[in-house]
């Protein structure tokens, strides 16, 4: 590789290459958000779970009250399950953000590694 190509490699590495890596990390994050249905979970947090006891009930007051309680129970169950999944999702996303951040940071340092290695070889201690 001549100097022109080396310069081009470095130019690409710190512009389109870095952007491309960031885009890939964003896509992976997007996939995780979709996998855990984060926006849907947040929007439907208190919706009856699987439409259980969700229908309208006509009849005496006692029947209506019982239906209302059933529906409330279904909503509570739904909220609990969704909250658990939301928490798991948030943890997974936070972990991914952390790893993605480190990768992006590391990306910027990669071209400098041989120089760092040389310094460590000259000055640094062996294990």
């Amino acid at each position: 590789m001549n100097m022109l190509l080396v310069t081009e490699l470095l130019r690409w590495w710190y512009t389109a290459g870095w952007r491309g890596r960031a885009k890939r990390i964003a896509n992976q994050l997007d996939a995780t958000i979709d996998y855990f249905s984060m926006d849907l979970l947040a929007k439907t947090l208190f919706a009856p779970f699987r439409q259980i006891s969700a229908g309208k009930v006509d009849g005496p007051l006692e029947v209506k009250l019982r239906a209302m309680l059933d529906k409330l129970f279904s909503r509570v169950i739904g909220a609990v399950i969704r909250t658990i999944l939301l928490v798991v999702g948030v943890v997974a996303i936070a972990f991914q953000v952390l790893i993605g951040g480190l990768i992006l940071l590391g990306w910027g340092l990669v071209p400098l590694l041989p120089v760092v290695g040389l310094i460590l070889t000259v000055k640094g201690p062996a294990l």
Binding site: W13, Q51, G78, P114, L120, A126
Partner: protein, 637 residues
Amino acid sequence: MHSTFYKYDSVRSAKARLGARLTKSLRLVLLLVAAVLITLGVLAITSHLTLGWFIVTLAALPVMIYEWYHGELEHPPVTTNSIDGLLDGDILGRLSANPTPKELAAAAASVNGGRFFAVRFGITANFLNDITTDKPEDTEAIWQHALEVRSQTSSEHISGAVLAVAMLQSFPDYESLLAHMHLELDDLLAGVRWYEHLRLLVNKTKEPRRTGGIARDFSFGYIPLLKHFGINLSDQVGGGITVEIVSHVKAVDQLIDTFGSGGRQNAALVGEAGAGKSTIVRAFAEKLLDAKAKIPSNLKFRQVFLLDSASLIAAAPGRGELEGLIMQVLGEAYSAKNIIICLDNAQLFFEEGVGSVDLTNVLLPILEAGNLRVILTMDEQRLLQIGQRNPSLVNALNRINVAPANREETIAVMQDQLIFTEYQRKVTYMYQSLAEAYRLSERYVHDLAMPGRALKLLENAASYGENGLITGNSIQQTIEQTMDIKVGVASGEDEREKLLNLEDLIHKRMINQTRAVQVVSDALRRARAGVRNENRPIGTFLFLGPTGVGKTELSKALADVYFGGEDRMIRLDLNEYVRDEDVARLIADGADDPTSLTAQAMKQPFSVVLLDEIEKAHPKVLTTLLQLLDEGILRDI
């Protein structure tokens, strides 16, 4: 403004050459070197050698080159409007400083676009080599044509496909060459667009799909009955390949409008069989499951279920049971809140018959109320019949017409759909086969509308390819083998001999009438040489003469000698058609009257039609036959 200037020393050219040098094996070596450096470095560090740090960090270099290849060198983005800025990286990396047309031909033929043209059009590396020169000064003309083709086809790059067409256009007598291959320049441009379309399609399939995730259906009800008696179309989508022809996109948008707004939640897709109604429903189902699609939120992640009428009828044989079962299934769909029911061939649910049952009493109130989302697909004729019996049903439906596709749309559908057939049947279709499938199916396949009828013929042709390659000839053979009609140009030795000696063969059966025999034989030879008018009968002859001179015998001899037997003759004695009401009998629906001319011609299209004693026919009968004799068209009633 684009320039035909080609700069060998440009940065993009240098990158493309490096990309071309980094072959798959070399890229693997890069990774191996990185792995070895890291291993050696770690071993050195653990052995208290500080040099190990440098060795480990050196692994960054091969890794960087590897990343660079996939990020930029593999497909260098378009930079300037010069040739080196627009050429596909694969080609650019193979060119010398002063490329000759032959060098261009070799480079174009070795990349995907060029290979595509070799397979789909028969424009191979050897062909391109033969039509190009080795004079560098001729390259300029190719660049000029390439820029024009790129612009005409809206291609991103000057790909191998664009270059192949440009090289052909630069050949002085390219139109004759194309005519020899049964092609025109427009076909080649369509080929470039096809290649670009497939390239984009492949890129699209690489994009991840967002379909809602694991909690998508938490807010929707369980549907055990529906799962048993229906087919979830939404489960079957996800290939990412849906054909986007204008009429279908419009119908999908109409479905979204209908179900996204507050009106009656039903839609009837009305069109001929084969027009693409089921495809539209599948495209609609796919769009609903796409988290990125711009659709109303009340339609997002809704699922389309196809009701299986056969399993419903089988599960509820008793009187009244079926109505009960249907109500349960539809009730479940309504309660689940995310179901759109599809009644494919909806006439099966609105009329009594084999495999169908009249559920109008159950379904009409549901359709009129418009709360449960229902899609019906139906043939227009059947809708008219049902509407005649029950006008309120038709009034309750939001009708969406699905018109048959035109030639351009049909070719586009075939181009996308044949990918699946090619994969399943291990065959390859040439472009000429698509054009021929459209032409011949339009003429000979009548039970389906476009694009279904062309697709059907194309699929059938998979069994008639030569070494897995389906050409225009294969399509003709398919028609000849499956429908027993000769459509191609005479090619077999036997047939050629027969045509050349037709007069002698006929005269073995009858003597004299030399003139009549010669005229008939000439007409057949013209037709089989491919110089006939496709929109007229092969020949229409009026044999005049007293009884016993051989008028009928000549027809029989012709049927026997050329059409394969005396039974290959449809004989109508027109003295049986002397009243004006006999016209109806002549063109009666083939399904009702097997003796009508239309029925016999449909059953045995490759035959001689003998209209005996024509002078005795009623004038109205003759008027009807006039259209048949002139244009070869006769429609049943």
